[in-house]
Subunit: 305 residues, 2 copies
């Protein structure tokens, strides 16, 4: 039997702020992490919205160490560690486990397309054996629109049979609530996080564990509140409120838009910067975006230093 | 004006042999490189068919150094150096330039999809400026079926305007001869390599520079002969002959199939191994594949030690 894990709730794939020379602005990142934790939002650093694949493996290793050394609670962290190559995935995952991170979010090797279940199984199996640590807890990262790959029901079943203590859940960023429903129907104890808070209430009703969503970087408190009160009569109303904000953001390029929202509401334009191949949100789009959020009286509570 | 470059002909994206523990079998790789050079085939190490993205950046840095130290002629090498992150692309590219490689084949950052021309431009521009070396010659690697990204005519034009000495050509693995035709019509001096020898004659007739093809790992001499004699009366016949072999291979998963062909014809089963997420070609498929090649009296000339 799989041991029960407390990992649930709302995670932000933490945005990565950059200095003018495009190095990571570590202090700003740390403060943002602290603020998210203060909102009861956990930290999925090195996610898609973190521009993690635009960071080198060495940068990620160093940054993870920095954040834990600086005092972040590793049990609240689920870093992304899945690379295209097994040695790099193993190196990052070992580092996360050794620093005490509660779990990791693992992309499949995303270069080759048309990879079958057997190939994906071998890849994860090799990683798990090489890390060789019973503390390792893996969440599979299902994001076919970027990886071009799928975790099938057969493959999940095989993972749960062969590595029941290690493969504990999944983040589903496909946007297909039907997929989450089917996965949870087959594996009720599998911890499934949805990739958008728009589907949080539905996911929780199907038995899901929470959400890991880019917009949790700007709207954590209200998303966390829905997670805490989803069984109350106010749940539908709370869902509609957070979905409204999410829908506005989805009208723009997600990562540049969220960064601009932080830059604007914190009056800190350094947050706007992205690494290529992404582009900063243009000023005219930023203006319409902020106009829509202002109309809803959107705010980001201040960072407490 | 762009200085004229002698880079043309037939390149193999050199297959990477693995030891039982999945480390790179360096000596076998070196011998295969030597053999390819002896067939007048140049070396595009770290390509898609090399399983380059299944190697860590550190493995690639070390391997490149090993091959040059061991005596391979760097001017015959066009290593793949494009990673998802700018720092890693820069590190690999600098190493290739410093070792004297004639050029590099650069994948676009392939994690994010829907990246626009501006984002791709900034990515390559940043890499070129950081490498900061006039010896750098870049071939853009156009392989939308893996990267999900496209090099548009507008983007190529911008590269040629801003970096005429550096962005010298492209490998087009899209399989769309129409794209090669359009690119060469717009930029007659751009050095375009096609990703399959099935389109070599057409590409040369449109003014292309040659081909970089996985099957050059097993059939280099005949592909090179077509390149050398493409203006002769025998060209169509030579094209048909090499296309026949290519078509057989295309009936299988390309990389595992080519590796099995080498393993069989060199009587060296160590060549069959692949890194996950790829799978070794199953025995029954290998049998039918070899049967078809044997029927055509296919052979691989021996490696001279």
């Amino acid at each position: 039997m799989r041991e029960s894990s407390p990992i649930k709730g709302v995670f932000a794939p933490v945005l990565t702020p950059f200095n003018p020379d495009l190095t990571v602005d570590q202090e700003r990142l740390f403060m943002h992490c602290e603020w998210l934790l203060s909102q009861d939002c956990s930290l999925a650093i090195f996610g898609t919205n973190s521009e993690a694949n635009s960071l080198s493996v060495n940068e990620r290793l160093q940054l993870l160490e920095f954040l834990v050394d600086r005092g972040l609670e590793p049990t609240r962290m689920m870093p992304g560690t899945g690379c295209c190559s097994i040695p790099e995935t193993v190196e990052l995952t070992k580092k996360a486990v050794n620093l005490g991170c509660s779990s990791v979010l693992m992309l499949p090797p995303f270069y080759y397309k048309g990879v079958n279940d057997e190939g994906l199984y071998k890849n994860f199996s090799e990683v798990i054996q090489r890390v060789g640590d019973s503390r390792l807890k893996i969440f599979l990262y299902h994001i076919p629109q970027m990886s071009g790959l799928h975790f099938s029901i057969d493959l999940i079943e095989r993972f749960l049979r062969e590595f029941p203590e290690t493969v504990v859940g999944m983040k589903d960023s496909s946007g297909q609530i039907e997929n989450i429903k089917v996965v949870l129907h087959n594996f009720p104890e599998f911890k499934v996080f949805v990739g958008t808070e728009s589907l949080l209430l539905s996911t929780l009703r199907f038995g899901g564990a929470g959400c890991i969503s880019g917009t949790a970087n700007i709207n954590p408190a209200k998303i966390v509140r829905l997670f805490n009160e989803w069984k109350t009569a106010k749940a539908e109303h709370m869902q509609n409120e957070i979905s409204e904000i999410r829908k506005i953001i989805e009208g723009y390029q997600m990562i540049p838009a969220i960064k601009k929202v932080i830059a604007y509401y914190r009056n800190d334009n350094k947050w706007a910067r992205v690494r290529p191949p992404l582009n900063e949100l243009p000023q005219n789009e930023t203006d319409t975006l902020i106009g829509k959020l202002d109309f809803l009286k959107f705010k980001i509570p201040p960072v407490q230093c």
